[in-house]
Symmetry: C2
Subunit: 411 residues, 2 copies
């Protein structure tokens, strides 16, 4: 008999029929003798409806009042889900973030959870009740309602699971798991039965939007087993595991992530003097532009080329910043390219397997795809290529690293 925390997002509770389906799913776990705590989001569309009311009044509403407003969305859902469970004959009880209580800091609209009091939940579970908790919201030390920002319901669920030492935190969403890559790009993309936290973090930060990155970090930190699964189709989804808990035969590469949202900038002929990097990136950061990849070669001669990527929306602004930096530093020129894409292979297996990088580069070379930038981390290799080659690169790598579904299905 296990304790499950089950999180249902906005589309999963978007209509009365879906709320009733969610109640049935929860009940099926309860019927097997498990304890269940459900964490729910606002019905899809509701948060936007509330925000549009506030935007009619003010273009810059008070964050405190914004939290009071939007937190009603989840409150409506907890009541309706509890009623639907009761209608199925289950004992159920709802809690707002304040009632639990989920203590946060006072950073309205983007609060961080500091502590969760699980006494109420535990008492209800002991009495055989299903507990239904409002995601996304909490309360600060002064009793003000706070919210955790978009996607905060995932974080709520993980935090509740951590505080309760739940056996598993299940995130129900509209996809049935984590895939080796985007199935819209690679037909043979395969659902993973499991993936490690580190891999999931790399995949999430690279644009696989299945889970909020913050909730994955949180789950990793508190060692909460996380499972992504679909509200709409049956299946075991994808379990996000800790490295030690993994199957013996882990593939070298778990997945291929990609991102079309970047642009590449190069400052050519930067004098090789101490502090040059910070004199370049300081003004960029001061302009509130976030930098992703950074590459600088060892200087030959007395100058070097300094290259980095930013979000494509910042492309024009960053060029303006760099032009004055170039003048200041005495660099030769600024070049840029906003039709690039980033492709990354992710996998904890590459730690112990030599030759992963060269296999990747060979594969791309075989397709005549030129690599513009390379950046590596312990479990990820990212390359920047011309955007037009993106789909080709992802498909070729997917096959090269044995990720295609056909191979797996033959097992």
């Amino acid at each position: 008999m296990a304790l499950y925390v089950q999180k249902f997002g906005g589309t999963s509770v978007g209509t009365i029929e879906r709320i009733q389906a969610v109640a049935k799913k929860i009940k099926s776990y309860r019927d097997e003798g498990h304890d269940v705590v459900a964490v729910v989001s606002a019905m899809s569309g509701e948060t936007n409806r509330l925000l549009s009311l506030s935007s009619e009044i003010s273009s810059d509403p008070s964050p405190r009042e914004l939290d009071v407003l939007v937190s009603t969305g989840e409150q409506v859902t907890i009541a309706l889900v509890s009623m639907a469970l009761q209608e199925l004959g289950c004992e159920a009880k709802s809690y707002t973030g304040d009632q639990i209580k989920i203590l946060t800091d006072s950073a309205h609209t983007k609060a961080r959870i500091k502590d969760i009091d699980v006494n109420n939940i535990q008492e209800d579970l002991k009495k055989g009740r299903i507990v239904v908790v409002a995601g996304f919201q909490g309360v600060d030390a002064q009793g003000n309602t706070t919210t955790l920002g978009r996607g905060g319901s995932d974080t709520s669920a993980v935090a509740v699971a951590a505080a309760l030492k739940a056996d598993e935190c299940q995130i129900y969403t509209d996809v049935d798991g984590v895939y080796t890559t985007d199935p819209r790009v690679v037909e043979k993309a395969k659902k993973l039965d499991q993936i490690t936290f580190e891999e999931m973090l790399e995949m999430a930060s690279l644009g696989s939007k299945v889970l909020q990155i913050r909730s994955v970090e949180f789950a990793g930190k508190y060692h909460v087993p996380l499972r992504v699964l679909s509200s709409f189709v049956e299946g075991d989804g994808t379990l996000i595991t800790f490295e030690g808990d993994q199957k013996m035969e882990q593939p070298v590469i778990s997945g291929i992530a990609f991102n079309r949202d970047e642009a590449k900038l190069t400052l050519v002929g930067v004098p090789d003097i101490p502090g040059a990097a910070s004199r370049i990136l300081g003004p960029v950061s001061a302009a509130n532009i976030e930098v992703d990849m950074i590459v600088q070669n060892v200087a030959e001669d007395k100058t070097t080329d300094f290259t980095f990527t930013v979000h494509r929306n910042d492309y024009k602004r960053v060029i303006q910043v760099l032009e004055s930096v170039a003048e200041d530093l005495g660099a030769q020129t600024v070049t840029g390219d906003n039709s690039i894409a980033k492709v990354s292979i992710v996998g904890v297996g590459m730690r112990s397997h030599a030759g992963v990088a060269s296999k990747m580069f060979d594969c791309l070379a075989a397709e005549n795809i030129n690599i513009l930038m390379i950046s590596t981390s312990e479990i990820k290799i990212s390359v920047v290529i011309e955007e037009k080659y993106l789909e080709l690169a992802v498909r070729a790598l997917h096959t090269a690293f044995d990720l295609d579904a056909a191979d797996i299905a033959a097992e």
Copy 2:
């Protein structure tokens, strides 16, 4: 510099434009140096929208979860009103019933207020803030959200005003005050500048739906000066006063109330034995039928006639009950009439003025209106007449007791 508690109902905050108008009205008091606490209802239609969501799930939803659900309606309004005030440059802060806190008993959907903690409000007022409180809702000792039942926002406002010892509790509604009688029946009906609590209670219980009777009782009990005024048109409305505070020259009669919702039943030839009344009304009450007026004459002979009125909706059921009572008691027969109306004159002045009753009866007799039942209280005389004479009776009495607006305007 006074402290005002201002209550705005659902139609007063029914749209963003109206919320902005409410904010302007509040600000106009603040600009004059007054402190203001606003108590607000859900936007009109919102409570029904929420109830219809719950009714899709359950025909008999848990009262606890129903309170969690519908209390979001006022929570949305407090946030929007606070934002609208801030947009006008006012400092404003919202509170839910829980945050205040408004402590109630645990009778979900019809809770009663037990205590209000005014520390938070007082601190905010000291800082020059306008405080915006969610009406209709509270919290029980266990931290569960409760609601006070329909019309509960008036009660919230009065209770907050009492706890704060406010100078005045202003109830903004869609009428501009309390009238001598229904202006739809008597064109010359006149808005009253003031009316006593006792009179208001009699008027309210007789169907003048300006204020919830419970909030009037509450205001009377805690000696909170209450004013009814319009959100939409300027004016001083009607002040509900305590008898001692009144003007010297109070009219004998303040208003004429009426009610078409009743039916009259008579048990003819009831044996004059002890306990007969309870043997009649016991079964009626057991059938959950509420009785309004009761008249029994002193028995001549050995039998008496026992007459009472009930809501017209209960007419058929009460006849069935009475037929078996008649058999049981050995009464002769049951008669009934569901095309009657009740007309009442109300006024604290009648205490010190003889002849009010005879003036009323003379007036009706002069119009050939037959009186079917009479019932009196200290500040009210009610008669039951045939329904078809209702408008005529109300107009005649309105003139007879010098209530017509033309007379007043000439003062």
